[in-house]
Amino acid sequence: MKGMQTRCAGLSVVVSAASLILCGVTNGQGLLPVRPDHKETTPAEAAPEQFGPRVPRPVLALPDGQTKRLQALVIDVQGRAQWRPSDTAPWKNAKVNDLLDPGAGIRTGLRSSITMRVGKNATILVGRSTRLDLPQILQEGAVLRTRAAVRRGRADFKVDLVGLTNDFAVLTPTTTLAVRGTGFAVKWGGLEGVEIEALASNVIHAIEVRYLLTKLRYYLSGQAVSRESQPDPVEAALAKTVSRPLSGALSETEFLAALQSERAVDYSLIGLESTVALVSSFEPPPMDEPNGMPPEGFLLAMLVCDNFNEFFVAYQNVLDSELGFNSLVQVFQFSQLVNEIQAFCEQLEQFDGDPFQFVVKQVTVFCHTYGQGAGHDSSSPEVELCISLFHDLVQGFADDGL
């Protein structure tokens, strides 16, 4: 705790953010046990209070002279679409979550499309019968430099203003076009040459939301775990080389409204999903804040790690009293969780990404398997309670830290 106090001078600021995050659990709609002071609110109503602090933050500039290669992440594929890492490599079928390095080529067939989040500021929808290359995706200091070459067909480019200089150029066999912070569609064909059309922005927004929804399910499913020794490449990319697929497309309020209207999502899960989205969001906080203060994810993870024994004994007790350990398997699962987090805490300083997100994910996976062991499905109140007890505990420890 002492170490914690010395290392976390800005904790008071962070705790307020953490409280807001935890509000997602305690005040979220749906599966939580109803408390006497609980008040039903729609996500849109709740958004300003719960999500205000999470207004997308700008992408940070690199130090002068420093260059970083970025990537493209496939977020949607329709019909036949293929890509290859270089001109000489064989083509392979595109799938969602494929990561493309600069130099990749993409092609689509009739009635087909592929959508990618490219670098930190752009989304590209590659349309039917198109050949497109991505010769350059990189960040140079405060400049995001991207080159996309449309050899034939149609591609829609949405370039977000993220706080850095956008140097985004679209090359065709006859023209070079620049996009500063808006969007358009470029068609290039043998009959008419280059044609500029309006951006299919609604289509791109819909694809981004759909992708985010699949990520939410992914976070909740517990089917994939990112370990330090074996990190999930997509999450690593989202943290480092591809960023904020939704930030330029929707405000938080709009996103929540979209969530609410999405039939595929159980409305009762929104509270939980919003919470998970907050703590394990698409925008992992950068490891170095501009003012030198460690990011909130790091501080929260330190809070858990510095009070490790005390924290997990308390979590075990509260789980036992609220939900009960019904089998040896559940006890074993809990000990596995403790071991995972302990191993993680030993290498916290070297962890690349949002460490608290990692901890929450481990707890979420544990709660799902724990719930399954007790015969509950993944959306049962018991599973959500298991997660919310963890958050309550974090909040309690954070309050003590003050």
Binding site: W91, L110, S129, D156, G190
Partner: protein
């Protein structure tokens, strides 16, 4: 005398040149092979378009393969004869016409296919006499799908891909699944 003799030798030569120019002018370009010869089948669509891109003219075989894929979503035929028979059934090609597989495809034929795929009704002439290469070409020009061309001209591979894409865009607009 010398002038007369010269004139008498130049005139037949000019007639011969004109005749040969006329004969070759009516003939269509013939390629050694079509892209579809190598790239047909369910999994080869993207390779087919890729190779067609570099072809200087699109052949009848390639055009029918591409247009059938556009019309039905897939082309299950294996030979040119099967595709030609299917095109005749769809009235893309007149019953008595027998274009060569590797002969350059006429814009008129592709325009008739496009009129069928897009269900273009056309003007008075098309309504009275049915879709013809000439009037379908003019309809596609009017609809901004084709630039100014005549029905006897041919297209390069890249132009054909563009034509197919433009027809697909129009189909998407008409089916209400337009982008915006």
């Amino acid at each position: 005398m010398r002038g007369l003799a010269m004139r008498s030798s130049v005139v037949p030569l000019a007639i011969l040149l004109l005749a040969s120019a006329g004969m070759t002018g009516c003939a269509r370009t013939v390629l050694d092979s079509s892209a579809v010869d190598e790239w047909s089948g369910d999994g080869a669509e993207l390779d087919y378009w890729e190779h067609l891109e570099s072809q200087r003219v699109v052949t009848n075989h390639d055009a029918l393969h591409g247009l059938l894929m556009l019309a039905d979503g897939a082309d299950s035929h294996e030979t040119y004869e099967q595709r030609l028979a299917d095109a005749r059934v769809r009235t893309w090609i007149a019953g008595d016409a027998a274009p060569g597989a590797n002969e350059s495809a006429a814009i008129g034929m592709m325009a008739v296919a496009a009129c069928d795929i897009l269900s273009v009704k056309g003007g008075l002439t098309m309504r009275l006499f049915g879709p013809s290469p000439r009037y379908c070409t003019r309809e596609l020009i009017f609809m901004d799908i084709l630039p100014q061309r005549t029905e006897h001209q041919s297209l390069s591979g890249l132009e054909f891909i563009d034509l197919v894409g433009r027809i697909e865009d129009r189909l998407a607009e008409e089916s209400g699944s337009a982008k915006e």
